[in-house]
Homo-oligomer: 439 residues x 2
């Protein structure tokens, strides 16, 4: 059979991994694809820069248009990232009738509609396994492996950097900033880690999975999103004491006729598989109406795990599977989409930490506010403060001590109005922490 000729646009970490597989494992890939998959062109901004992976002479260039227009090229792999140049690459490739493989979740979140529509019009396909959870075949599992199911819930750790930081904070009892610095040194966190640690990356990924699993397009602004960048070590330790681990959890699930979504540091019971994911790994738990619960876990990032997913997509394109899968994906909202649950209606249990004045009646004041908003308590931790610490902060001030409460289920709206009143209580100092608890 004729080879599948590939142009690689972008040659960073993942691009290098893809090139290595295509060049060094060509026999293996040809056997599994039923035809050779041939790397023909690699496009970079600066072809003269030295690269970790050496390419055959004449393969590398800086001319994107030339690569895309080359009639020899069947499939374009977009690995430049971002949403501007990548957008042009993908739209141009589709316009030329080329199939596209991409690992770019931000692009699909921002321009997914236009891209998927153009692919459909051009009768091409867009394969994007590598865009969510790196080497974990989560796109295939939702759209093929569980195709017989109605997915009822997705619960996932989708940002390896955040999970690495949370794991290290707890294991070494070190503050966020110190672990972040270490993670940057080790290459687990980027020089500018903002999108990882503020929850944006995980939120983009959960919206992509939501689109596939529920057929609903959700803008990032429509659901609560919070990163790990404001977490304090104390809360990880209190959670542990209560039998929980704090994870940056992305959730999308059916609740009645609505879709509940959020990405937040969340307390997960320590026995649950998601709580036990440590380090830079990802995990996705799916619940389907036939299959029940299914867990997938593995490397969510990294050059070779992500390249594994990109090349699996290329094999799917080469065999013709991708052309059969793509039109059946739930990307066009052929049926009425599930509406999003308004954030204030999301009902959950919460972990609350207060810094309160160490004097009589304080608990009564807090519990009175919570009670009046219909929030009832499940458990309380308040440790005795050692005598010598008692007046450490200043001799005339009433000292502050931490108090941790676990509530029963209540709506976010109830907590928000309670928060306004708690803010005004003289006995409550900063910081005041509120984290959701997973079901």
């Amino acid at each position: 059979m004729s080879p599948l000729n590939v142009a690689l646009i972008g040659f960073g970490n993942v691009g290098g991994g893809v090139a290595r597989l295509l060049l060094e494992k060509s026999e293996r890939l040809a056997q599994r694809a039923g035809r050779p998959i041939v790397l023909k062109r690699v496009v970079v901004r600066d072809p003269s820069r030295p690269r970790a992976v050496s390419l055959p002479d004449g393969m590398i260039s800086s001319d994107v248009r030339e690569a895309i227009l080359d009639p020899q090229i069947d499939t374009v792999v977009e690995l430049i990232g971002g949403t501007t140049a990548a957008h042009d690459v993908v739209m141009d490739a589709l316009a030329e009738g080329k199939d596209v493989v991409t690992a770019n979740k931000a692009l699909l979140c921002t321009h997914g509609d236009a891209i998927f529509e153009r692919a459909r019009t051009a009768k091409c396909c867009v394969a994007f396994e590598a865009s969510v959870a790196g080497g974990i075949p989560i796109v295939a599992t939702i759209s093929q492996g569980l195709a017989a199911n109605q997915i009822n819930s997705i619960e996932a750790i989708l940002n390896g950097t955040s999970n690495f930081i949370l794991t290290e904070m707890l294991a070494k009892r070190v503050a966020y900033q110190d672990v972040l610095a270490e993670a940057q040194r080790l290459g687990y966190a980027e020089a500018d880690p903002t999108l990882d640690v503020d929850g944006t990356d995980a939120a983009q990924k959960i919206t992509l999975l939501t689109r596939l699993a529920f057929g609903t397009k959700v803008p990032l602004s429509a659901f609560p999103r919070q990163g790990i960048d404001t977490l304090e070590l104390a809360d990880l330790i209190y959670a542990e004491e209560l039998g929980y681990r704090v994870k940056l959890l992305g959730v999308a699930k059916r609740v009645g006729s609505k879709l509940e979504m959020h990405v937040q540091p969340t307390l997960v019971r320590r026995e649950k598989p998601i709580a036990q994911v440590s380090g830079a790994y990802n995990m996705v738990r799916l619940e389907g109406d036939a299959v029940g619960s299914l867990w997938l876990s593995g490397a969510g990032a990294g050059a070779m795990p992500t390249a594994s997913a990109v090349v699996a997509d290329l094999i799917d394109v080469a065999t013709g599977r991708a052309a059969r899968t793509f039109p059946q994906l739930d990307l066009w909202q052929s049926h009425p989409p599930l509406p999003i649950q308004p954030p204030e209606d999301i009902e959950r249990r919460y972990y609350l930490r207060f810094n309160v004045e160490d004097r009589p009646h304080v608990f009564a004041e807090i519990c009175d506010v919570l009670g009046r908003h219909g929030i009832s308590l499940a458990s309380i931790i308040q440790h005795e403060v050692p005598e010598h610490d008692d007046r450490a902060a200043g001799s005339d001030a009433v000292p502050a001590i931490p108090a941790v409460l676990m509530t029963h289920r209540a709506r976010e709206g109830q907590f928000r109005t309670a928060d306004v009143e708690l803010e005004k209580l003289a006995c409550v100092r900063t910081p005041r922490v509120r984290l959701p608890v997973a079901d």
Copy 2:
């Protein structure tokens, strides 16, 4: 597009689940397959027997040949189990040019060669996602999701009944026989549980995964196989004390240029994801040269989880994906297969429990035998026996006490010859237990 017409041969638990999905979720399935998937015929031994799932009039019959020969039928789903009648159904369907979906691991282990060959000749496909690990899409993950990888290792819990029994034994501190009786009462174990608890079921499944992942056909007789039916509670408790859980672990991995395989109760470090799988769940850990480690976990049996996999296969047949996947599967040993490591060359750490006489020099005698066979010790547990138990068994006999040893790595062959000598030591009584430890 024209519908995919299906005949269901066998209408037990899983068959009922498949029928329910096809009849009750037809709209959902048609959307994902791009065409209707229509249940046309159901064949059973006794059509007059009442069934949990009600079928349209005239759908059920007892005539297999008529169903297979019906030119209307495109795809035959074999769910009768066993290796005799099922073999005829599958071979006849393929001879008629029909695609086949089956959940029958025993059939594929016994007659896989003839079935796969006939399918290839007939240009049909055989889809068998449901034959291993129920609802977990492990066949698709090995053959598609990780298609870019060389698989280096598979480690798996593949028998839910065994895992349920092991979990309950440890949690409730109850002996094997008592938990088995309870599991039978709850429906987690069959009336005759032999194939589940003696390791045969798990061994059949690991050989199927091995064939897919390594391209090697392995007869059950070629590797060590041991079930949980001879395990004693004491060993689960000692393992826990040492930081391990005992799991019925199926393993197939590359070691040098050989394939190491075994299915045995195995000690797994408690922190590992596989150790944490409790109840009737399955887990498969794959290691690929690009993706690294990947874990999949979910229900390994049960009507609806297995039906989820069967119907996913039907959707793959309906879209044409299965026809593109099947010929690329590593079922024909186009390349030289990996030879099997002879059992006596398998090198591992071991857990040893002895019942020894409580008198001087006993440890010296045991350690001398082990040492002379090149087996060195990593740790020892021997608990002090309460004074009043000391001579409980009989006044003139030297009492026996348990001693637990963990060894460093050594070859199975070394242990076998040591076993012969240990057997002869006067100080060593029965039972003598030896269980492997996972890396």
